[in-house]
Symmetry: C2
Subunit: 273 residues, 2 copies
């Protein structure tokens, strides 16, 4: 597959550029190649807890030419979504960590509640929250029952940490969804609300001009297919080559490789799938 | 419909016999009629938080002839289920309130953990828990990842209280289910694991000899239909007559009425559906 008409590459971070806190050196090389081809490179992660600034520093430190505006987290995209949709004085109840609060504050939202609850509430935003408890669940339910809109930063069921796999934002979202009997608007992958905001920011109307490269079938690949853009899967993260082989033809990515460099490198990559 | 061959009536409590803390007088009359017909009457509630003793007292106080062995709560049935399936020395992690702990202790289970977590864990039991938090969610996930069996007392999404509707055990179960990627064995209605235990206790093999009378389509009616027993719906609780009219024919209950007395009373009840 030629990347000639591709204008924007959207890269997942965990499993693609870094693994835990360890850089994947071939990814840094791959990013250089994409840029040499004149392709814009941005980074999209479902992780709602980490500030963009820290991610930009992290990637800068391992040799990626990057600015903070290249980083899209699900909490940043949630704030961007709200910025497009709501006035700055809306009252927001947050089930989430400071990453979400910080991004909303950056966009000028002032009426934010996370530990306490003061109705009326216009929006309930749910993401990863290691301080989640029954009280917050009840607050979120009450607000949604009273008409607040329900937004989820992401629905990842689990959250990989250095010390193992813990529950992810998706398990908290499911609790709120069940208690409130309402489905959220989901910003992160595999939904495409957030991706569309990125395309808008780059003024791209044809999704075929975009390639989404990630390491997870259930988030990255599905999001890319839904958006109708090109897709790439690397085996440097969660998904193995074997899992890819089991997929139906229509779900196969356009490109795959051991890592980003390998994915971009050979001219035989289509045969690998 | 004749009740001649019915040997056992299983009555939901909330919405059928009491509403909040208020007795439904016609229910007390209805229970007398059932007993006069020589039908055994027992009580089944998905609520896992209230001790059976208190429920027996509550019903006794409003004039129901009752003993504690007539009361089946989802936490009692969970303990009964475990008693049939497991040794007394199994290690159990509980996401739930004292009702569950109490019933398990009554059956002789000793290795119970609810605020702390000491692996190995053989069973994770999840029910309504107003002290639910992320730590407990993580413990439950870790235990299930390590091979513990996952049991849910009930999956009611919400929990009606005197002060309004709060999240129910089902919302907590969903969080654990999502984080652990495992489906629980569900004891309460609409599943029939618990109902089957009641039938066993009464040595009933033909479900047609049982009538399940409740006020909720999504728990009582579905459980009764799944078990293949007779079903009755009263309008003294959640479900309205209009909702019943909207049901497909195969899902209609055998009997219905404003309350238990009304349900048993007229000879025109089949025309009401």
């Amino acid at each position: 597959m030629e990347l000639n008409n591709v204008k924007l590459a959207i890269l997942d971070i965990d499993g693609v550029v870094i693994k835990g806190r360890t850089p994947i050196p071939e990814a840094v090389e791959g990013i250089k190649i994409l840029k040499e081809k004149g392709i814009n490179v941005v980074y999209l992660t479902n992780n709602s807890t980490r500030p963009r600034k820290r991610l930009a520093e992290l990637l800068g430190d391992i040799g990626v030419d990057i600015s903070i505006s290249d980083i899209f987290t699900s909490s940043y995209l949630t704030a961007l979504y709200l910025d497009r949709e709501a006035d700055k004085d809306v009252r927001i109840f947050i089930v989430g960590e400071e990453g979400i609060v910080f991004e909303l504050e950056e966009f000028g939202f002032k009426n934010l509640f996370w530990s306490n609850y003061e109705p009326p509430i216009d929006y309930v935003i749910v993401g990863m929250d290691r301080n989640f408890n029954f009280q917050k669940l009840t607050y979120a339910q009450q607000a949604i029952f009273s008409g607040a809109r329900f937004i989820a930063t992401n629905i990842d069921p689990t959250f990989p940490t250095e010390n193992g796999i813990i529950p992810g934002g998706g398990s908290i979202v499911k609790a709120v969804e069940t208690a409130s009997k309402k489905q959220p608007v989901v910003i992160g992958k595999p939904e495409i609300v957030g991706l569309k905001l990125i395309l808008t920011q780059f003024d791209i109307r044809d999704p075929e001009e975009v390639i989404l490269i990630g390491d997870r079938i259930e988030t990255d690949l599905i999001a890319g297919k839904r958006l109708g853009c090109k897709t790439g899967i690397v085996f440097s993260g969660i998904t193995s080559k074997e899992e890819l082989e089991d997929l139906e033809v229509s779900w196969k990515p356009d490109l795959c490789g051991e890592n980003l460099l390998d994915l971009l490198g050979g001219d035989d990559y289509e045969d690998r799938i």
